[in-house]
Amino acid sequence: MKRFGFVLGVLLAVCLVMTIGSPAWGAKVIKIGVIGPMKFVQGKGHWNGATLAAEEINAKGGIQVGKKKMKIELVKADSNEFLSMTDATNAMELAITRHKVDFLVGGFRTEAVLAMQDIAMDYKKIFIGCGAAHPKLCTRVAQNYDRYKYWFRGTPFNSMYLARTCFIHMATVGAILKKMLNIPKVKVAIVAEKAMWVDPMVAAAKGFIPKMGMEVAGIWRPSAVATDVTAELSAIQRAGAHMIFTTFSSSVGITFARQAGELKIPAAQVGINVEAQKDGFWDATEGMGNYVMTMNTYARGVEYNELTAPFVDKYIKKFAEVPTYTADTYAAIIYTLAPTIEEAGTLDADKLVAVLENRECMVPSGKIRYTKDTEGRHLHDLKWGPGYLTSLGTQWQDGKLKGVWPNRWKASKDAPEITYKGIVPYKIAPWIIDKYKK
């Protein structure tokens, strides 16, 4: 009897170890945690993009891992990161420890993603960021590769490149204003919400605007959730700005655009306004956001390559709206993660990292390649530029979000001109023309 009890005990222990300790590839599905602020548009984008990818992959029978096909199971993790950092870290911890996810995609607010990144790294889980732009997320990889190598940037490219792209947009619009309205020297007001991802952009803009032959009219830093910016708008107008370089990712983007439109502030808005990237912007500003230009990833009818239209059309058909950049969880799963797993034939994170960091692949928004720093250390950051990722410049024109950049853009003197399919000319707001046209 004692012997039987011993054998039973050993069997139970073995069962327990097998249940808890068996590797993920012993399971039938690959669990992908989709983490983001799910009650907000950014999180909805994360989830929608991932859903689309999972449905496509599962319809084809799953991902080939070695000799067997494994289907994808998505785990929704609400980070609530706009309101609580603790909620964000708890959601990450829960996704990894309770739901036993194999991979993670998502994250939006840099301050929260930095904390969530640490948790994912503690558990050696590959985490593809689809929202936060701060360079620190990737410099951590170079500085402490063994710990942070499981992090990869999925979208957007880092804030230094975001700034660079915005400066190109600014130069483009500045040249149009100069030419069409005979403005000798364009004055630019820098208006940036108070947030960590914006800080490097403000510093860069301050130094770069004079180099582009323009003048800085002033810098304003309203709160990201400011409900009234009329004082700022009065000050901007008083400073004689012809152009406003905006960097907004939160509700202040709507307030600013609406109040500037209502007061017909004679300055062209160029830069990043995340709220203006969404279909709902027109209604949210009651049409006052007309002529606002923002950097963007997708727009109806604009194509980077042959993958863009199928993705955008499918997304619009399923969710009745244009995808925003956080919906690039789709590309992170279908074009980055899935082929990497198939190539490596395993779910082992270390082996996947080695394959992933050397991959180059087409995605609906361009081509992805991971970069190294000047010392040749892996950054797992995204390569920016013609042929890779450039993003779009989009402008609201009478209720429709149109692609207006790149329009015959030359990255350098000898480079070929780039114009994506579906791009239309930039329009100057009539009240700006009325104010400056001589």
Binding site: K39, I219, S223, S251, L263
Partner: protein, 289 residues
């Protein structure tokens, strides 16, 4: 620039005054610190959004319905959650915090966290000394003045006002004189919540509707009320304009620190309290009562 500061300050101040008057009223009369005051303002905004965008109702009608509906919700909340524990001020405080969070979560569940908007009653702008002011802002300014006048008239010229003031002065004596103190408190609550809903109707077309929109105004409103003297309507009005002007000063003088405008306003409040702990009109109000 001085003109810009004054005009911006007056407009900002009007918004805070609209919110602070209702809050101050219910505290002054019933000693209820209603943290959910700005949450009612948020609910009114959502009602207007739903009526105008989802049901196609005219904005003015939507606003009137929203004010009525939110007042009714306020009364139900008062009867269910506040009245039974009114004698315990700390419990009331906690109950109203819970109420505000519950309202926020309900709106989040129904409308998600998307940023929404409601149409302006009047569009366009007016130029005063080369400063552009939206008509909706002017409307807010005018309404703030009208509301103050209305509340003053209600308190000083009507039987209800007399009852309200008597109850505020001494609850027990008012009871002994045959006044139904509980009913007076309930009616004051209705007026207070109605004012919050009215503020939502007038202010929200200038702003964005979302479930957390009640938090920032709550902080500013508390600052206004404490600065002016708890329970003093006159104090709330003056406090609102002081903080509004302080915010404008920050934006114009330290544009890089525009996000600090709220913090600066709160610092002014602390400074005033250090010199005059009862607030600007605290003592005067006691005498009035």
């Amino acid at each position: 620039m001085i003109i810009d500061i004054i005009i911006s300050g007056l407009i900002n101040g009007s918004v805070y005054a609209l919110l602070a008057i209702g809050f101050s009223l219910i505290f002054g009369v019933a000693r209820i610190v209603n943290i959910a005051h700005t949450a009612f303002y948020m609910v009114a905004s959502y009602c207007i959004y739903y009526a105008t965008h989802q049901m196609g109702v005219h904005p003015v009608l939507a606003m009137l319905v929203a004010i009525g509906l939110v007042t009714l919700i306020g009364l139900i909340c008062y009867k269910l959650f506040i009245d039974p524990i009114r004698e315990h001020e700390a419990a009331v405080l906690i109950a109203t915090i819970a109420l505000a969070i519950a309202m926020q979560e309900i709106m989040l569940l129904i409308f998600t966290g998307d940023f929404l908007s409601v149409p302006a009653l009047v569009t366009g702008y007016l130029k005063i000394f080369e400063v552009k002011i939206a008509y909706q802002q002017l409307l807010t300014f005018a309404v703030a003045l009208l509301i103050l006048a209305g509340v003053w008239a209600l308190l000083k010229k009507t039987r209800l006002g007399l009852a309200v003031r008597s109850t505020a002065q001494d609850r027990e004596v008012a009871n002994l004189m045959g006044m139904n103190e509980s009913r007076v408190a309930m009616m004051t609550m209705a007026v207070s919540v109605g004012l919050a809903a009215f503020a939502g109707a007038v202010v929200v077309p200038l702003s964005v509707v979302h479930p957390h929109m009640w938090m920032h105004p709550l902080i500013m409103m508390m600052a206004v009320v404490v600065l002016g003297g708890l329970g003093s309507l006159k104090g709330s009005f003056v406090g609102a304009y002081i903080l509004g002007l302080a915010e404008s000063l920050v934006v114009f003088l330290i544009p890089m620190g525009a996000f600090l405008k709220g913090s600066v306003a709160l610092s002014i409040m602390i400074l005033v309290l250090l010199i005059r702990p009862e607030g600007l009109f605290g003592v005067a109000f006691e005498e009035e009562r």
